[in-house]
Symmetry: C2
Subunit: 443 residues, 2 copies
């Protein structure tokens, strides 16, 4: 292995493509977002490409967008992440498996138990994407009329994390001795009762699952607001970052790593992976034609709806050919909205242009040949903008196959990406340490 800095590659797989028109692309599997055989085949291809992880975002609702846009969405039916990933664990051997779970609409005992179970079933490949769930439609599926306020969600999330990691430490690694002769299954000295009592949660413990193979599944986060950055610096081991201009990415990278260092953490133990839509072809012109074809398949109704979601307010009443009006503060995810507003002002875009971008994915995108894409990725990696990428594919299976067959070999040729997995667990492959057990520091 080269001594060069190494790229980490996650694959953004729920939905199987971020681009709203992916399912209409020639050769796409239109049902791939909800077909287990297809998804299993995609996961196996990612493993052939030595990807670090399969990453599942999540929504706890059918998004409440206007029907003229909703009916065009390929994500209205999707698997529950923690039900899909155990099945994918059986058809893969090294690929990391990162599922999203909400600290606002689930219980820490359930979350600790399910991720610990997945980590054991996958032999140490689980990751938890900790989200506070900013979508107000989810609240209405869980008995709340009003969504939980931003700061309150983050305070609850922090305590949720403490409880979950505390439950994962319920047992020393050597607790289960299974002494058949004397009939002693575990050593009572190696079990810890958490007895957590905090402002949001009261959880006795211990967890009824042995300590995860990885100690803890890898902690992943995606928040980019002030509160999101701080909880990431305190707790995350991987951050799924927004793309955006490289200068902005470098500021984000320096900020979050700096916060982690200030807290006494090793910044290398927090990997920052922006999402990036990658469209590859043999020539730059051909890659641009592919991207243009994909964008042309976005229906205008979908564009306005995507823009409304990004802004957290209804954009259908805006003047299509005017500039973006002032957008009121809402209780939604703050970082996504601000990116759209900043770009609109910076590039002087009309609402119509913004809608087209939002419907077709307006975030970071690399479109070109394996060489130009590797050049860009290398620049990002070597200039302090990221530790790798959460790759988004333009469609499946073709867009994913192309990445694995064209871009991965070029990255490997440059010594920027592994040719074999370094280890068996997600932590080993990401170069993350196994957390010590706070209650049994000797093990």
């Amino acid at each position: 292995m080269s001594g060069k800095q190494q790229l980490r590659l996650g694959a953004f797989m729920r939905p199987v493509s971020i681009h709203t028109a992916w399912w209409r692309y020639p050769g796409a599997w239109p049902d791939a977002n909800f077909n287990f055989r297809h998804i299993a085949r995609l996961a196996q291809t990612l493993e052939r490409g030595k990807f670090d992880a399969f990453f599942m975002a999540d929504h706890l609702a059918v998004l409440n967008m206007p029907m003229n846009a909703l009916k065009r969405s390929a994500t209205t039916t999707s698997f529950d992440p923690l039900t899909l990933l155990p099945a994918l664990a059986v058809v893969t051997e090294r690929l990391g498996l990162i599922a999203t779970a909400s600290t606002t609409f689930d219980e820490p005992y359930h979350v600790a138990r399910r991720f610990a179970s997945l980590d054991h079933i996958s032999n140490g490949r689980a990751g938890w994407n900790l989200v506070t769930t900013s979508n107000p439609d989810a609240a209405r599926n869980f008995g709340l009329e009003e969504h939980v306020e931003h700061a309150a969600r983050y305070a609850k999330a922090r305590e949720f994390y403490d409880v979950v990691t505390g439950l994962w430490d319920s047992w020393a690694d050597d607790a289960f001795i299974r002494d058949v002769e004397n009939g002693v299954y575990f050593d009572p000295e190696r079990m810890h009762v958490l007895n957590h009592k905090g402002p949001h949660f009261s959880v006795r413990g211990p967890l009824n699952v042995a300590r995860p193979v990885q100690g803890w599944p890898v902690i992943v986060q995606a928040g980019a607001s002030e509160a999101g950055r701080q909880i990431a610096a305190e707790t995350a081991e991987m951050v799924f970052a927004a793309g955006g201009p490289i200068a902005e990415a470098r500021r984000f990278y320096a900020d979050v790593k700096g916060r982690a260092a200030a807290l006494g953490r090793n910044p290398d133990h927090l990997k920052i992976l922006p999402g990036a839509l990658v469209v590859v072809a043999g020539t730059v012109a051909e890659a641009r034609r592919k991207r243009d074809l994909l964008d042309s398949l976005v229906h205008p109704d979908s564009g306005i709806a995507s823009l409304s979601i990004a802004l957290g307010c209804d954009a259908s009443a805006f003047d299509l050919d005017g500039p973006l009006p002032d957008i009121p503060e809402t209780n939604q995810s703050k970082s996504g909205r601000q990116r759209v507003i900043d770009r609109a002002r910076r590039e002087n875009l009309t609402v119509r242009q913004l809608a087209q971008i939002a419907g077709g994915y307006g975030g970071l995108s690399f479109t070109g040949t394996p060489q130009t894409i590797a050049d860009e990725m290398e620049e990002w990696l070597l200039t302090g903008a990221c530790d790798g990428f959460n790759v988004m594919f333009p469609y499946v299976p073709g867009g994913l196959d192309d990445f694995v067959d064209m871009v991965v070999p070029e990255l490997q040729r440059r010594g920027l990406f592994r040719t074999e997995y370094e280890g068996r667990t997600l932590r080993e492959n990401l170069g993350l340490p196994r957390p010590a057990n706070r209650f049994f520091p000797d093990r």
Copy 2:
């Protein structure tokens, strides 16, 4: 296939054996309750034996029993059922997969979504064992100091069921048209927004998963109290019944089927399967020796603890050689306690004897040759005591292998049990109809 009445066979697999000493039996895999490769091999053997389903009971806690007993328990570490079963779906093709989920400590949107996902991933083999969770230790892992009262749990469970089945009906079977040319993914006329508002739950919907392959996963229940029988008659398609004397089982069978008929249901669409521990050998004497050896491996500390759990009160203070004292009413599962009390009175047993029975499994058990066991099962089936059994194995893998290799062929020879699966889904194999969609009765 013979026209004879057919036995249904479930396999009780969490824990992998009900007998507390199973893991100490010669040849047992002591870690089988928490080893995915072992459990996968057991599931595949059950499928070779044409079992209807793999059944996972559950506890949402490490049971709060005295440490001298707890440390001997092989169930302190167990997989979350809904994390294990998707993985088992990949290594089997026809075996039904029944997971327990609690209506007291989970959310209907999560439960609907996870079981719907499992049903799609397994191509129609999911079942939901709906429990109200009587164990007070679970409450303390979910923020409650006091356990929820019995009647309140059942009222909430009934509404929970209505919400979950309503969410499963969110989409007509033909909703997802995926019209690539026109960019229409689903037909808006074929989506229903539930908008449920009841005393316990407020859930908007629709579910973000297509209607399950089976319409609804099979509904399973295990309650035997008055409230438990009534909700089973109203909603269950399989009842995991207590064993006990055959006369009592016949009364239970007639009662629950009668309640279902009185509600206008076809009683054949509610299958009653008592749990039965089956120990088989070439001779009756050898089978009895196996059972005696197994019982001899129960540590006395485990026996008293098991008795305490069954009674819902601490039995360690009772006079070991005296009769069972009067037991106060508690908030626990009523039916289990009453069975112990009835048996103590009927057979004039001391506390010591009851402890030995409780620790070694005091419920229905068949011990003998394939012929004597088939005789007993046939009598139960043909005299209105059951529709089949949830088979409990004395240990694994040997006790399970023996059942599949010795008892199943004898049942098949008599025409009482299938030699091939009748269908692809759990419903088809159990002879249960696919529920109509309440919102789209045409499909």
